[in-house]
C-alpha cells in the first residue's frame, strides 16, 4: 500500500521568511499525482498545489512551489514570503499509481507564522 510521510508534525516561520515542509512517499509506480492541501482554522481544506509525476518541471502557484525529487520519492513544499494567513495544517497526498485510485494523505504539518 502507498504511504505518505510528513516527518515534521509542527513548523514555525517568521512573517516574510521562507519555510519548507517535507513529504516523502512510497510507491512502485512511475505515473501518479502528488498534492499539497491546506487546512486553516476554519477547517475548509483547499488545494495548494498539484504535481503530475511524469512532468519534470516543479509546480508553482504564486508564493508556493514544490521540490519534486522522483528518484528520492520526495515532494517538499516551499512557502516564500510567509504571511499570517498561511498559518494552517498542511497535508501532503499521493494518488493514483497503477490500479490504485485512492488519495492517501500524510498526517499533516501544523505551520505557525509568527509576526
Amino acid at each position: 500500500a502507498q504511504t505518505v510521510t510528513q516527518s515534521q508534525p509542527e513548523m514555525s516561520v517568521q512573517e516574510a521568511e521562507t519555510v519548507t515542509l517535507s513529504c516523502t512517499y512510497d510507491t512502485s509506480e512511475s505515473d501518479y499525482y502528488l498534492f499539497w492541501y491546506k487546512q486553516p482554522p476554519s477547517r475548509q481544506m483547499i488545494l495548494v498545489i498539484r504535481q503530475e509525476a511524469y512532468k519534470q518541471q516543479n509546480a508553482t502557484e504564486n508564493r508556493f512551489s514544490v521540490n519534486f525529487q522522483k528518484a528520492a520519492k520526495s515532494f517538499s513544499l516551499k512557502i516564500s514570503d510567509s504571511q499570517l494567513g498561511d498559518a494552517a495544517m498542511y497535508f501532503c497526498a499521493y494518488c493514483c499509481g497503477g490500479s490504485n485510485y485512492k488519495l492517501t494523505f500524510g498526517k499533516g504539518t501544523l505551520l505557525t507564522v509568527n509576526p
Binding site: Y33, Y37, R43, Q44, M45, C95, K102, L103, F105, K107
Partner: protein, 112 residues
C-alpha cells in the same frame, strides 16, 4: 463558487444511535468521498463513490455505510454509533480522484 455542503458543523449523539451525515455538492461531480480526520492520524478514507449507486470501501469502512441515490448527494451512515467514532468527518467531491478535491467544512461528531 463551487460548493460542498455538509449538513451539520457539530453533532452530538449517544452510543448506539443511528447517525446520518449528509453531503451535497453543486458541481455535477461524479466522484464523492468521505474522510475521517483525527489528530496525529491525518485523513483516512472511509468510502468513496464514483457514480450514482456505486460505492467502494476505503481504508476504514468498518462500522460505516454510505448511500448515493442522487449524483449530488452522498450520505455517510453510522449504523450504531460508538465512542471510537468521535471524530471530524470531511466530505469531498471531484471530477476524478487525480484531480482537485473540493471539500466541505467538516462535521465534528461527538458520540457520548
Amino acid at each position: 463558487d463551487v460548493k460542498v455542503t455538509q449538513s451539520s458543523r457539530y453533532l452530538v449523539k449517544r452510543t448506539g444511535e443511528k447517525v446520518f451525515l449528509e453531503c451535497v455538492q453543486d458541481m455535477d461531480h461524479e466522484n464523492m468521498f468521505w474522510y475521517r480526520q483525527d489528530p496525529g492520524l491525518g485523513l483516512r478514507l472511509i468510502y468513496f463513490s464514483y457514480d450514482v449507486k456505486m460505492k467502494e470501501k476505503g481504508d476504514i469502512p468498518e462500522g460505516y455505510s454510505v448511500s448515493r441515490e442522487k449524483k449530488e448527494r452522498f450520505s455517510l451512515i453510522l449504523e450504531s454509533a460508538s465512542t471510537n467514532q468521535t471524530s471530524m468527518y470531511l466530505c469531498a467531491s471531484s471530477t476524478g480522484v487525480w484531480e482537485k478535491l473540493f471539500f466541505g467544512s467538516g462535521t465534528q461528531l461527538s458520540v457520548l
